[in-house]
């Protein structure tokens, strides 16, 4: 069995002649907390879709725990949990029904599904809302429910696209602590977020993608060394330098 949980080799995706992801190579070790960063439209979500078998790459290939995503998608899907950016939930189910449905889809028994969904709802402070239709949930509640559904089957690898976006600070702390404990228990986390402080605090390793290309990869110290920035430079400083962001400093002429 390979030591890498997630491997992408020359992964490329074109949309009608436009290259969204350009031959990226990634390798994420088991139990690593991997941050995948990039500006809007850089190709983060497209990469996650290719790694989880929801989008066919134009070229290149990906494996999860040594299993080819393209050749054996069902085996891959048994091992992964995904929290996508778009939150595709069944809005006309209640939160509890939704978790029971997902648990059954992963082949859990009724009793196991029920006990895990109870625990997840309690843990994510959704227990009082279990009987509400998902359509009536707030964004944060939907996010927590989607996270619960990604965890219910005890996945080996978790793909989390902006998992804390819209979640209140208390639940945010609960979730980030949980994610850290999952990594300690050997779960591999592939994590995207625009909150760079959080990424800096949680992730062992990061990759930065810009216009479809990986422009840096490694631990924060390694990236600082590669880019010749000071040891005290924050991830935000490094990120802005890497993506060559043109941050405007002047004020708007009519304000004030």
């Amino acid at each position: 069995m390979s030591d890498a949980a997630i491997v992408a080799s020359a992964l490329t995706k074109d949309f009608r002649g436009r290259r969204a992801v350009d031959a990226i190579d990634l390798s994420v070790g088991r139990g690593r907390f991997f941050g995948f960063l990039g500006p809007n439209g850089a190709g983060k979500s497209t990469t996650i879709k290719m790694l989880t078998g929801l989008m066919r790459p134009t070229s290149g290939h990906a494996t999860i725990e040594g299993i080819s995503v393209e050749a054996e998608p069902l085996r891959v899907k048994e091992r992964i949990g995904v929290l996508p950016e778009e939150l595709p939930l069944y809005e006309r189910l209640t939160g509890e029904e939704y978790l029971q449905f997902v648990g059954r889809m992963y082949g859990l028994s009724r009793a196991e599904t029920r006990s895990r969904s109870d625990e997840l709802l309690e843990f994510l402070s959704l227990a009082d809302e279990r009987g509400k239709l998902v359509v009536d949930y707030s964004l944060g509640m939907k996010k927590k429910l989607a996270l619960a559904s990604a965890l219910i089957h005890n996945p080996h690898v978790l793909f989390l696209d902006e998992p804390l976006n819209g979640i209140d600070p208390i639940s945010g702390r609960v979730v980030s602590d949980l994610l850290r404990r999952l990594a300690q228990k050997g779960v591999t986390l592939f994590f995207t977020s625009h909150v760079l402080d959080l990424v800096e605090r949680l992730c062992d390793e990061v990759a930065v993608i810009d216009r479809g290309r990986i422009v840096a990869q490694g631990t924060l110290d390694e990236i600082r060394a590669q880019r010749a920035v000071g040891r005290d430079a924050s991830l935000e400083d490094v990120f802005l330098k890497l993506v060559a962001a043109d941050v405007r400093r002047e004020d708007l002429s009519w304000i004030g």
Partner: protein, 534 residues
């Protein structure tokens, strides 16, 4: 003034963009506009001639008949925002501009004016003029007649505007929005089947009802009628009743506009939200059906039942067989014959084609395809759910068959229906994978225009071919159900019916196995097409 023009332009621009975004609607408008113009002129001539004839031949009928007509048109017009769903659309949603510093009067006037200058309003103007001309016996009575007719029209427009605002206010609450959608679709269905219902009774029931109201002048109290009644009195030179009806009509218009202003003011102050999304307390969730397939079927049935549009479509499924009963009742000898009935059962069964297995998923399809569920099971579950949703309609069909044929034919009819439905569902999986229904964009209503997600002309041709294939493939099994009839040996059904069903089930199994393989190979492409990510 700048704000007023800005708001009016915004509304018309949004409506125009809505048409441009859906080419088929733009094309429809191109066809519709000349037709509307011709229809408007023709209606104006008909109204003129009709009013003149009634006024000269049966003048005593003029007031009650005109009142009844004005009321029917007015009620339909006021309900139209609900039936078309237009009022709940973003174009008509005043609340989207409430965060800007727009004075209330500007908002009220812009909303009224934008509703007034619409093609459907403009095309009615020739009819109003024609009616006033027909009623006015002399030129000097024309202005009063025109004023009366215009008052009735103004009441209709104001009622329509008020209904639109009320719907907007209610639609801000999810539960009320669902109720409105369901009621609107139900009313739309009723209106579209009304001609059949009228024909079915030979028009007698409607005629009797109308005569009852016309004789008693029952619509004299309708606000929609007061203006027209004033016009009739004006045409006859009856000054006092004319003035009385004009005063009533003006009062009706002012009241409706006053209510509209009040409703707009409540929207303006954020006071039209009706309650929260409902209590979270309730019984524990219980998914009853066993296994993965059961859970998937139950999920589809639950979500469909809680979705007002899909629930309404279940009603549509019930109406189809009733219309069929009506049609068959008009063709003696066709429906009652065993061969004809089995043929019709077979056709009813294959209508399962086009059910689009993944259409219910909309943007949740990545979730479904992200699950490690064997694709054979997935398709079977989707087909079972589709069959479950069509069961009320099919049961109604069997009920209708019972009325047309002897009870002994029922098992054969049910078998023909089931066999052809199985084959159609098996074939439909291929259409769902190769020509999927496009999901509406992120944040867009599933009921918006693009939600329909046309499968395209090529797909329509393939669907026709598949329909023919479904009929051909299911023909041997329907034949087995029919065979004992010409042989005159009903006992043969004991063998032929199970044989027919088993054959259809075997064909279905083979079709699903093939479709599951196709799905496994084409999942990413399917997702890309459904989510428009190509």
């Amino acid at each position: 003034m700048d704000r007023l023009t800005g708001l009016l332009l915004l509304r018309w621009r949004l409506e125009w963009r809505g048409l441009r975004a859906a080419p088929e609607r733009g094309l429809g408008l191109l066809v519709l506009l000349p037709l509307l113009t011709i229809a408007s002129l023709a209606s104006a001539v008909a109204v003129f001639v009709g009013a003149r004839v009634v006024e000269h031949s049966r003048p005593e009928l003029m007031l009650p008949a005109a009142s009844a007509l004005a009321t029917l048109i007015g009620v339909f017009w006021a309900l139209s925002p609900l039936i078309t769903g237009l009022a709940a659309g973003e174009t008509h949603d005043l609340t989207r501009v409430l965060q800007f510093p727009i004075p209330l009067p500007t908002l009220v006037v812009s909303s009224l004016l934008a509703n007034l200058v619409q093609p459907l309003v403009v095309v009615r103007l020739p009819m109003l003029l024609a009616l006033a001309l027909a009623l006015a016996a002399s030129a000097w009575r024309l202005p009063a007649a025109l004023l009366g007719v215009s008052l009735s029209f103004a009441v209709m427009l104001a009622a329509d505007h008020l209904a639109g605002l009320a719907i907007q206010g209610m639609a801000r609450n999810r539960r009320w929005r669902d109720v409105l959608l369901f009621v609107g679709l139900g009313l739309g269905l009723l209106v579209s089947t009304l001609p059949f219902l009228i024909f079915a009774s030979g028009g007698r029931a409607v005629g009797t009802t109308l005569r009852f109201f016309v004789r008693g002048d029952g619509f004299a109290l309708s606000p929609f009628a007061w203006g027209v009644r004033a016009a009739i009195h004006a045409g006859r030179g009856e000054l006092a009743p004319c003035l009385g009806q004009l005063a009533l009509g003006s009062g009706a218009v002012l009241s409706a506009i006053g209510l509209a202003v009040w409703a707009t003011a409540r929207l303006y102050r954020g006071e039209l939200d009706i309650g929260g999304p409902g209590s979270a307390k309730g019984t524990r969730a219980r998914m009853l059906l066993p296994g993965r397939v059961g859970a998937l079927v139950e999920k589809d049935l639950r979500t469909a039942w809680r979705d007002p549009a899909l629930r309404a479509s279940l009603l549509t499924g019930l109406v189809g067989p009733l219309l069929f009963l009506f049609l068959v009742s008009q063709m003696p000898g066709v429906g009652g014959s065993p061969g004809g009935l089995l043929l019709i059962a077979s056709i009813a069964g294959v209508t399962g084609l086009g059910g689009a297995a993944f259409a219910l998923e909309r943007r949740a399809l990545p979730l479904l395809l992200g699950l490690p569920l064997p694709r054979f099971q997935l398709l079977v579950a989707k087909n079972l759910a589709s069959l479950g949703l069509r069961t009320p309609g099919l049961a109604m069909f069997l009920l209708v068959a019972l009325l047309l044929a002897p009870l002994s034919m029922l098992p054969a009819v049910a078998t023909a229906l089931a066999a052809s439905a199985l084959v159609a569902l098996g074939l439909d999986n291929y259409l769902s994978i190769l020509f999927p229904v496009v999901a509406p964009g992120v944040g867009r209503s599933p009921y918006s225009g693009s939600a329909a997600g046309a499968r395209g002309l090529g797909a329509a041709l393939v669907a026709l071919g598949s329909l023919a294939a479904a009929v051909a493939i299911s023909a041997p099994f329907v034949f087995l159900a029919w065979l004992p009839v010409p042989l005159g040996r009903p006992a043969l059904w004991l063998v032929s019916l199970p044989l027919g069903l088993a054959g259809a089930a075997a064909v279905y199994g083979m079709l699903v196995a093939g479709a599951a393989g196709l799905l496994s190979r084409r999942e990413p492409e399917l997702l890309a097409r459904v989510l428009s990510e190509e």
